[in-house]
Amino acid sequence: MKLTRRHTLMMAVGSAVAAFMPVRAFAAVEEEIAAFTGGAEVGSDGITLIAPEIAENGNTVPIEVDAPGAEAIIVFAAGNPTPSVATFTFGALAASQSAATRIRLAGTQDVIAIARMPDGSFVQASQEVKVTIGGCGG
């Protein structure tokens, strides 16, 4: 692509938008969390989220959630255009309230897991995953 003045301007606008993105996305995830918890207070004990500190590619990031006794665990990627990632609901024959999967992250951001316990309480774990950008894009 030739770098014309128009392109440069577009890129400048693009980065300005990008700079504001996290704020907007954060608001979106707050809303979605509230929808899941009904605004209840969220504790932090009894839930584990395992995610890599650095992901080699944001397209396939392995994560694991574990919340003994939980009814359901919801996972958010706070910086994704759509923060919600997955909801795991456990049945009577689940041997543990845990699951592993692979997710997409649009960039470096917090991954958040929230479990709903049978007594109606909620617990949360979160971790920042740094998403690296390939060497020369090859």
């Binding site: 919600s84 997955a86 456990f90 049945g91 699951a99 592993a100 692979r102």
Partner: protein, 109 residues
């Protein structure tokens, strides 16, 4: 229907009564997120698997809601209790209405 969708599951062949086993599932599916654009700048419509369930003899093990942030070729790993000899049923629900299933029998000896 998305092309070449093929479910794969891994379940042990046998177990003892009440044993906790690990189940792995992988289904080939593009999980088109609805965020991407084609060469002409048109948004490629979302087309994902939006739900996955696993049951044993009709009783739920896990029920997962998937969003577009689940990677291409969705993979899940989870644990199940095996109370008796029976069948695990796996079901994936596609945005386009298609349903893909697989099942695995397990013997309690």
């Amino acid at each position: 229907m998305a092309e070449n969708v093929k479910p794969r599951v891994r379940v042990p062949r046998d177990a003892t009564a009440g044993e906790e086993i690990t189940i792995k599932t992988l289904i080939s599916h593009p999980m088109e997120s609805g965020q991407r654009k084609d060469g002409d700048g048109n948004v490629i419509p979302r087309s994902i698997i939006n739900r996955f369930t696993c049951t044993f003899n009709g009783e739920t093990v896990i029920d997962v809601t998937l969003e577009p942030a689940i990677s291409t070729n969705p993979y899940f790993e989870f644990q199940a209790i095996v109370p008796e000899t029976g069948t695990f049923e796996f079901t994936w629900y596609d945005d386009d209405g298609d349903v893909y299933t697989d099942s695995k029998e397990i013997t309690v000896g």
